[in-house]
C-alpha cells in the first residue's frame, strides 16, 4: 500500500516535469527547428502551394493551439503520422525501439558489469600498478572519440582490410548466430567506450566506501577481501550505481545509438530520431521527446524504489 501510494505520488509529481520538458522542447522545435516546408514542396512552387504545405504541416496554427494538440497526442499516445515518411509514428517507434534495445542492451550490461568488476579490482589495489593500469586504460577509452572507435572496430573486426570476422553492416537477424554476428562489433565498441567512463565513476564510489569505518572494522575482523568487497563495499555503493544505471535506460530506449546504427546500418530508433531532428519531422520528435520525459519520470520512480530495496533505511515517505 505504501508503495502504491508512493508510486501515485511520484507519478503525479512527474507531471510538471513532463509539461516543462515538452513545453521547452516544443518551443525549440517550433521556433528554432528546421522548417519542413521546403523539403515537401516541388520545384518552382507558387506562394499558394507553399501556404498549402504550411497549412498541412500545421505551421499556420498559433503556438498555443499546437502545444495543446501536442499534449492531447501525448495523453492518447497517438502522434499521428511522420511528416517525412507518412508512417504512423507509433508503428515507427514500435518497429525501431526493439531493434535499438536488442542492439544496445548487451553493450550496456557488459559495459556496466565489467566496469564494476574492474572498479572493484582497481579500488582494492588503490595506488598500485593494477589500479594505475586500469585507470590508464579508462582514460584511453574516454579520450578516443566514439566515432573513431566505431570506424576502427569496423575496419579491424569486419572489413576485408582487417579480420573480416563479422558483417560490416546490416541487421538481418533470423537466428542466434545472426544476432551474435550483427551485435558483436557494436557491442565491443560500446563496451570499449563505456568502460572508460563507468570504471572511473564506479572506482571513485568504491574507494570512498573503502575508507568507511565499517570496512576498516570488517578488515580487522579478518573478512576475506572478496567477501569484503561484495558484502561490505559493493552493497553499500549501490545507491549511486543504481542512479547511474537506471537514468541511462531512457536514453538507450529512445535515443538509441545514432553513430552505431548509422555506421552499422541498423534500423533503430537512434537514426530515426536523428533524421527527425535534422528534417524537422515534428510528429516523430514530439513522440520521442514526450516518451523520453515520461521514461525519466518512470526511471526516477524505479530508482527510488530500488533505493529502498537495497537500503531499508530509505523511507518511501
Amino acid at each position: 500500500m505504501e508503495l502504491l501510494q508512493y508510486t501515485i505520488r511520484k507519478l503525479l509529481a512527474g507531471i510538471p516535469l513532463i509539461l516543462g520538458v515538452t513545453f521547452v522542447s516544443f518551443l525549440l522545435m517550433v521556433y528554432f527547428g528546421p522548417d519542413q516546408t521546403y523539403q515537401l514542396i516541388g520545384k518552382n512552387p507558387t506562394p499558394e502551394q507553399i501556404a498549402e504545405v504550411r497549412a498541412q504541416l500545421g505551421y499556420d496554427k498559433p503556438f498555443v493551439v499546437r502545444y495543446a494538440d501536442y499534449l492531447r497526442e501525448l495523453g492518447t499516445l497517438d502522434f499521428g503520422f511522420s511528416d517525412s515518411t507518412g508512417e504512423k509514428v507509433s508503428v515507427l517507434l514500435g518497429r525501431t525501439i526493439p531493434v535499438s534495445l536488442a542492439l544496445i542492451t548487451p553493450g550496456f550490461i557488459l559495459g556496466n558489469l565489467v566496469a564494476l568488476m574492474l572498479a572493484l579490482i582497481a579500488a582494492h589495489h588503490r595506488s598500485g600498478w593494477v589500479d594505475k593500469m586500469i585507470m590508464g586504460l579508462s582514460v584511453v577509452g574516454m579520450s578516443i572519440s566514439f566515432l573513431i572507435v566505431v570506424i576502427a572496430f569496423q575496419i579491424v573486426f569486419s572489413s576485408s582490410y582487417g579480420l573480416g570476422l563479422f558483417p560490416v553492416r546490416g541487421w538481418n537477424v533470423h537466428s542466434p548466430g545472426d544476432y551474435f554476428a550483427y551485435v558483436a562489433v557494436p557491442t565491443m565498441a560500446t563496451v570499449f567506450v563505456a568502460l572508460g567512463y563507468n570504471t572511473r565513476f564506479y572506482r571513485s564510489v568504491i574507494v570512498e566506501e573503502l575508507t568507511r569505518d565499517h570496512v576498516r572494522t570488517a578488515r580487522a575482523f579478518g573478512v576475506p577481501p572478496a567477501r569484503l568487497l561484495y558484502r561490505n563495499v559493493l552493497k553499500n555503493c549501490m545507491i549511486p550505481i543504481i542512479t547511474r544505471i537506471v537514468f541511462s535506460i531512457p536514453l538507450i530506449v529512445i535515443s538509441g545509438a545514432l553513430i552505431i546504427e548509422t555506421y552499422f546500418g541498423i534500423p533503430g530508433v537512434g537514426k530515426v530520431t536523428f533524421e527527425a531532428i535534422t528534417s524537422g519531422d515534428q510528429p516523430v520528435l514530439k513522440a520521442v521527446v514526450g516518451l523520453t520525459a515520461l521514461l525519466f519520470v518512470l526511471a526516477q520512480l524505479v530508482t527510488d524504489i530500488l533505493y529502498r530495496a537495497v537500503d531499508p533505511r530509505v523511507s518511501l515517505k
Binding site: I151, S160, G164, R169, G170, H174, S175, Y179, V183, G265
Partner: protein, 629 residues
C-alpha cells in the same frame, strides 16, 4: 567467419530441445529476445508468400549500395533519385530510358508504342499495354491485384494536384496539361474529369496540352508519373507512402532506414530484352558481360536489396568485404586506392582484377549564383551602381579558381565547363570559350579598380551554407581567393544553416545574396538548367538568382515549345551566353562518378536522371543453378 552469419534454416529441435524448467525459462527469454531483435523490418508484403519462392540458398540476390535512402515510397513524393530508385522499380511508368544508350534515349515502357501526336503538338494519344496487373495486395478485393488501366494513369497524375496527397511533382505538368489547375480549384474530385487528361477507353490515354511541351515524354519516365491503384491509396491512407502497390518488376517486401528489400514480381510481363535496341555498344560495354541477358525477360534476380549507407567509409568497407553490397559509387577519399590515373580515368590493376567499373559524368552540375534581387550585388535603382555591381560580380567570377576547386573537392576528375548547359546534354558546346572558368586575378583587380571598388566600399558578401566541415572548407577557399583580389576577408561572412531544409528556405525566401548549390537534371534536355535563370521562376521558384532579363525570358519562352533542332540548340546556346555575359553565376563543374561493381554482377549501373532504371536488368552470375532463369 562467424557461424550462422549467413542465413540458414534452423531445425525446430535445435531451438527447443528438452531442458529443465530453469533452463527452459532462460531459453524462452532468449527466444523472446531474438524475436525482439528480428522483428524490425517493416514487412510491407501483406498478401502471403508468392507462389514460387526460391530458398535463400538458391536465391539470386543483388545488393545495391546508395549513399542515402528515400524518405517516402509514394511516387507522388519521389523528389530525388533515391526515391526514384524505388518508385520506378516497384511501379510502372509509361516511358523509360534505354538501358544502355548514352546520351539517354527514350523508349516506351508501359506504353504500347510511341504516342500519336497531333500536328499542333498539343494532343498526345497513348495506348498502354493490356494484361498488366498490379501485385497482389489486401487493398484489392480478395487480395488479387487487378489489371492496370488508362484510368489509373489519369488518377496518378491528378494526385499531384490533389492537396490531400502532399505531392511534389505538380510543377512538371502545371500550366502544361490543360484543365488540371481548374480541376484542383474545383475541389480535386477524382470522380470529375480534367479537360486535358482523360482515359478514352480502358487502354487509351489522351493528354491535351496548353502549349507544346517537348519534354512531356521525359516527365512520363519519372517516379512522379508512376502508376498507382486508387484502391491502395484509399486502403492505406497516409501509410501508402510505406506500402507500395505497383506493377513494376519488383514488389517491396520490407523497408526501413537501412535498406529496402524487393522481390521479383512474379506477375511482371514477359518482355525479352534486345540489348541492341537498348543501345548496347560492344566497344565500351563489351567487358561487362551484358550479352548474357540478350533475349531473356527481366527481372533476372529474385531479390533486390538497396542498402542506404550514408557514411562513405562504411559504404566502401561493405563493398570491399565481398559478400555484402555489390555496387558502390567510389567516395572521393578512396580515389587514390582505386584510380591509376585521373586524366583519363583508369583503374589500378588490382581493382580491375576484382571489379568492373567505369567513370561517367553526372547529369547535373554544381554552381554558385548571385542573388540579383540584392541591390548590393544585383539590380539597383541607380543605373550607375547597377553597372558597377555587374563589374563586381564579374571580378568575383574571375577570382574563382575552378581547377583548384575541382582538385580539392571533386577528386580532380570533375569536368569544369562554362555556363549552365551541362556536358551530358546534346546541346552542350565543347568549343565554347572557357574565359568564364579561367582564373584571372589581375583582370579581377583591374575590374574592381576601374569601377571604383575598394576595400572600404565593397559590400559584405554573406556566404550561406549548411554547417558541414566540407562546406566550411569551401567557404575558406573562396574567401582566400577573394582576398587575393582585394576583397577584405571580414567582408565575406559565413552564415551556417543547420539543415538543407533551412538553407532551402533561405534561398526560396531570397534571404541570401549568394546561392551555392547543385542541380541534378530531371531530364536530359538543357531546358532543365536554363529554366534556373528564367525570370518568372524567381523566388520561391527555382531561379534563386532572381535573374530577370526580358531578352532571356522571351528567348526561353520561344525555345521551350520547340522540338529538338539546330535552331533550338542555337537559342539554348544564346541563353547560356547571356548568363555568362551578365556575370550571374560562377559556373560550373560536373562531377565524375566512378562506379564499381562486383564481377559476378551483370549490369551497367547508373544513378543519373531518373535514377535506378537499370536495376530491372541486373543479373547475378554465381548462383548454384548457373544463373539462368
Amino acid at each position: 567467419m562467424v557461424p550462422g552469419y549467413h542465413r540458414r534454416p534452423m531445425p525446430a529441435a535445435a531451438l527447443w530441445p528438452r531442458r529443465p524448467p530453469a533452463a527452459r525459462a532462460c531459453a524462452v527469454a532468449a527466444l523472446a529476445w531474438l524475436l525482439l531483435a528480428s522483428g524490425c523490418g517493416r514487412d510491407t508484403s501483406s498478401s502471403g508468400p508468392p507462389a514460387e519462392v526460391p530458398t535463400a540458398a538458391s536465391m539470386k540476390i543483388y545488393r545495391h549500395g546508395l549513399d542515402q535512402g528515400p524518405s517516402s515510397l509514394d511516387p507522388a513524393q519521389s523528389a530525388n533519385i533515391y526515391a526514384n530508385h524505388v518508385a520506378i522499380n516497384a511501379y510502372d511508368t509509361l516511358f523509360s530510358y534505354q538501358y544502355l544508350a548514352r546520351p539517354y534515349q527514350l523508349k516506351p515502357n508501359l506504353a504500347a508504342g510511341w504516342p500519336e501526336i497531333s500536328a499542333d503538338l498539343l494532343e498526345y494519344t497513348i495506348h498502354i499495354k493490356q494484361g498488366v496487373h498490379f501485385v497482389d495486395d489486401p487493398a484489392f478485393p480478395d487480395g488479387i491485384g487487378r489489371e492496370l488501366t488508362a484510368e489509373d494513369f489519369v488518377y496518378s497524375i491528378k494526385r499531384h494536384f490533389d492537396p490531400a496527397t502532399r505531392a511534389q511533382g505538380a510543377w512538371l505538368w502545371q500550366g502544361r496539361i490543360a484543365g488540371l489547375e481548374e480541376w484542383k480549384a474545383a475541389g480535386a474530385d477524382h470522380a470529375k474529369e480534367a479537360e486535358g487528361l482523360v482515359a478514352l477507353d480502358r487502354y487509351t490515354i489522351r493528354i491535351r496540352l496548353t502549349q507544346p511541351y517537348p519534354q512531356l515524354l521525359d516527365t512520363l519516365t519519372q517516379g512522379y508519373s508512376a502508376i498507382v491503384p486508387r484502391e491502395a491509396v484509399a486502403y492505406y491512407g497516409r501509410e501508402f507512402a510505406v506500402h507500395p502497390v505497383g506493377s513494376g518488376p519488383f514488389r517491396v517486401v520490407s523497408y526501413d532506414t537501412a535498406r529496402i528489400v524487393m522481390d521479383r514480381n512474379p506477375k511482371y510481363r514477359q518482355e525479352p530484352v534486345d540489348i541492341w535496341e537498348e543501345g548496347y555498344d560492344p566497344a565500351t560495354q563489351g567487358e561487362f558481360g551484358l550479352e548474357r541477358i540478350q533475349g531473356r525477360s527481366p527481372p533476372f534476380i529474385d531479390r533486390l536489396e538497396i542498402h542506404f549507407i550514408n557514411e562513405s567509409s562504411a559504404r566502401w568497407n561493405s563493398f570491399a568485404k565481398g559478400d555484402e553490397v555489390q555496387y558502390v559509387t567510389v567516395p572521393n577519399e578512396q580515389l587514390d586506392r582505386v584510380l591509376a590515373t585521373r586524366d583519363p580515368v583508369t583503374f589500378r590493376q588490382e581493382i580491375s582484377d576484382r571489379y568492373f567499373g567505369y567513370a561517367g559524368l553526372e547529369a547535373g552540375f554544381v554552381f554558385m549564383a548571385f542573388n540579383l534581387s540584392y541591390p548590393e550585388f544585383g539590380y539597383n535603382p541607380d543605373p550607375e551602381r547597377e553597372r558597377r555591381n555587374k563589374a563586381l560580380r564579374c571580378a568575383i567570377i574571375k577570382a574563382f579558381d575552378w581547377p583548384a576547386r575541382n582538385e580539392s573537392f571533386y577528386g580532380g576528375i570533375g569536368a569544369v565547363f562554362p555556363g549552365i548547359i551541362v556536358p551530358v546534354v546534346p546541346e552542350f558546346d565543347p568549343d565554347m570559350s572557357r574565359e568564364s572558368v579561367t582564373r584571372d586575378v589581375g583582370g579581377a583587380r583591374r575590374l574592381l579598380g576601374d569601377n571604383g571598388w575598394n576595400a572600404e566600399n565593397l559590400p559584405v558578401l554573406t556566404y550561406g551554407t549548411t554547417a558541414t566541415v566540407l562546406n566550411r572548407l569551401m567557404y575558406e577557399q573562396f574567401r582566400a581567393w577573394l582576398k587575393e583580389i582585394g576583397y577584405p576577408p571580414e567582408k565575406v561572412v559565413l552564415k551556417p544553416y543547420a539543415t538543407f531544409g533551412d538553407i532551402s528556405r533561405a534561398w526560396k525566401e531570397s534571404e541570401l545574396p549568394w546561392v551555392s548549390k547543385g542541380w541534378g537534371l530531371d531530364y536530359p534536355d538543357a531546358e532543365n538548367t536554363l529554366q534556373l535563370f528564367y525570370g518568372p521562376n524567381g523566388s520561391p521558384g527555382s531561379n534563386d538568382a532572381n535573374y530577370k532579363n526580358p531578352e532571356y525570358d522571351a528567348l526561353f519562352r520561344q525555345a521551350k515549345v520547340m522540338l529538338p533542332s539546330p535552331e533550338r540548340t542555337a537559342i539554348y546556346q544564346r541563353l547560356n551566353q547571356m548568363v555568362i555575359d551578365d556575370c550571374v553565376a560562377v559556373t560550373g563543374v560536373t562531377r565524375t562518378r566512378v562506379h564499381l561493381w562486383h564481377k559476378n554482377v551483370i549490369a551497367l549501373p547508373d544513378r543519373e536522371i531518373v535514377g535506378g532504371f537499370f536495376l530491372k536488368y541486373v543479373d547475378v552470375a554465381d548462383v548454384p543453378n548457373g544463373g539462368e532463369r
